[in-house]
């Protein structure tokens, strides 16, 4: 019988065997890993491990096969061709590869179509994770391009009109998160892509909070580049993925250089392989790729439609639960509106750190702080929020536990007086 999301899936995760009463609502930061993932990686390391894409031994052949098979399945999982997926250290690394590659292009190191010049513009939103903001700031600083952004309102939401207002014919890149890791807002990707095409810009999608939680078809969406991390998808740390449309990926200069990504090297210069190898300098995260492949197999076996439905319900329950508690208000979309599987909230009179500590004492793991989105928090008027985020193993019991603990928070800290 295939696993179903929720309590049934929970049984697949050794973490919950070790911590049976754990209410883990921090999947937005990082997910737990099922046995299938842990075991696949360990089994590979125990008996099939060897160097990849180097040498000619059978062992190398087998290991390379396992590595490339993982790539193929991950590509299929997000609607990409296998040559359109390059492995990275994490999503941050993948986003940097794009921005650094464009910086190299701007410095005349290949890939002219990616070169930026003073007066060009890069557009983001005011809700971005630092990983989809700072690399663009640095690219702007290096090239003289300007960084523009769609502003957010008091709930932390941006609009396509705001994004449009930030663009111009000089816009070369529009980079947005598919799902905000703070507000849970889901970007209207089709509209963003259309906007990019109107102004001739590239669309970069930060898919960190969508890839683990909903069916994703990057090819159909028509974005040019995307990034996501295995560790948020029940896979290992130490590996993520850069997606790029085939013809773009072959031309983007590789920021990181070294072994396994070259054709001819002299003391003076080097020529690079096509994608994806050109982005995988040095010894690859081999066993992590095997684990990543097992993770998408795990999610696929349950079915991303089922996972998305389950998590959408949990998200609405979380929102309703949080809003029922006096003195607590959620940011992001309103009840009934579409949102990713997370809810961030502010507890009046209690600092998020103290909220998190209290919940932690009750066995509830949430995340507190600025969630790597300081500008967004500045717009929300608070330096930090508390975030409850769900995964395939989350249950309504988790929501209930959160609600009842949350009810105790303001009394405990005397904030209700």
């Amino acid at each position: 019988m295939p696993t179903t999301p929720g309590a049934v899936a929970r049984a697949d995760f050794p973490y919950f065997a070790a911590h049976p009463r754990s209410v883990y609502l921090d999947t937005g930061a990082t997910a737990q890993r099922p046995s299938a993932v842990i075991d696949a990686e360990a089994a590979f390391v125990r008996s099939d491990y060897a160097a990849v894409h180097r040498g000619s031994s059978m062992a190398t052949g087998e290991a390379t096969g396992a590595y490339e098979a993982a790539r193929e399945r991950i590509a299929g999982f997000v609607g990409a061709g296998e040559r359109e997926i390059a492995f990275s250290e994490n999503a941050t690394d993948a986003l940097n590869m794009i921005a650094l590659g464009m910086a190299d292009a701007s410095a005349g190191l290949g890939g002219e179509r990616f070169a930026l010049a003073p007066g060009d513009e890069i557009v983001v939103t005011g809700a971005e994770h630092h990983a989809n903001l700072i690399p663009w700031q640095r690219l702007a600083a290096k090239t003289g391009a300007a960084l523009r952004w769609a502003p957010v309102d008091e709930r932390g939401l941006w609009t396509i009109d705001g994004l449009r207002a930030a663009t111009s014919p000089r816009t070369r890149v529009i980079a947005v998160a598919h799902v905000s890791n703070v507000t849970g807002q889901i970007a209207p990707v089709e509209d963003v892509v259309q906007l990019s095409r109107e102004v001739g810009a590239l669309t970069v999608l930060d898919a960190c909070q969508s890839a683990p939680h909903m069916p994703l078809d990057l090819g159909t969406l028509g974005v040019d580049f995307a990034a996501f991390s295995a560790h948020k998808m029940t896979g290992p740390t130490g590996i993520g993925a850069l997606y790029g449309r085939a013809e773009l990926l072959d031309e983007l200069p590789p920021a990181r250089t070294g072994g396994s990504m070259i054709t001819v090297v002299t003391m003076e210069e080097a020529e690079f392989l096509p994608a994806p190898q050109r982005f995988e300098a040095g010894t690859q995260p081999v066993s992590q790729a095997v684990g990543f492949g097992a993770a998408v197999d795990y999610l696929s076996a349950i079915g991303m439609d089922a996972i998305a439905r389950h998590e959408a319900e949990i998200a609405q329950s979380l929102l309703a639960a949080v809003e029922r508690v006096p003195g607590v208000r959620a940011v992001g979309p309103q009840a009934g509106e579409e949102r990713g599987s997370l809810v961030s909230f502010i507890v009046d009179g209690v600092h998020a750190h103290d909220v998190g500590q209290f919940l932690d004492d009750r066995g509830i793991t949430v995340r507190t702080g600025h969630h790597c989105a300081q500008p967004l928090h500045r717009a929300l008027g608070t330096p930090s929020t508390t975030r409850a985020s769900a995964g395939v193993y989350s249950t309504e019991d988790d929501v209930d536990a959160l609600e009842s603990a949350l009810r105790e928070v303001r009394p405990f800290f005397g904030a209700d007086r």
Binding site: H351, H353, D354, Q357, F358, D361, T368, G369, H370, G414
Partner: protein
């Protein structure tokens, strides 16, 4: 009293709600801004040093109850203290906070002893240390 209640003693929560020593740090010759980047807590600590004594102290900041109460309790303890004593208290407080609760505070730490329980929560040690680190920077500047 479980660990959580031990950490959030009434003493600490009271100081967090009505902190002592707050004021305009810029009114003092030595000021230092300290930020905990992982949570955004921040403090600006201003002091005046006369004849080797911290003759005036004022801080402003925002943060969790641990960082705010720690700043408050420290203000009460060290305003008026000789610089050398203040540094000794800072050292002792740091040692206690790094010990995961193993090091018993001496009497000299006064109410700051209440943070011994916080030391068990490694992620909160930085909160409790915030004001003390800022004061230490001021003392260094004053000595230079």
């Amino acid at each position: 009293m479980n660990d959580l209640e031990a950490m959030y003693q009434e003493l600490i929560l009271d100081h967090a709600r009505t902190p002592e020593g707050t004021g305009d740090p810029a009114a003092h010759p030595f000021t230092h801004h300290e930020l905990n980047p992982s949570c955004g807590d921040e403090i600006t600590m201003g002091i005046t040093v006369d004849d080797g004594v911290i003759s005036g102290l004022a801080w402003e900041g925002q943060g969790c109850s641990i960082s705010m109460s720690s700043a408050s309790i420290m203000s009460g303890l060290l305003t008026g203290a000789p610089v050398a004593d203040a540094q000794a208290r800072i050292d002792e407080f740091r040692e206690m906070m790094r010990s995961r609760g193993a090091v018993e505070p001496s009497e000299e730490l006064g109410d700051a002893a209440a943070f011994q329980n916080t030391a068990k929560y490694v992620m909160r040690v930085k909160c409790a240390m915030l004001a003390w680190v800022a004061l230490e920077a001021d003392l260094k500047a004053a000595a230079a």
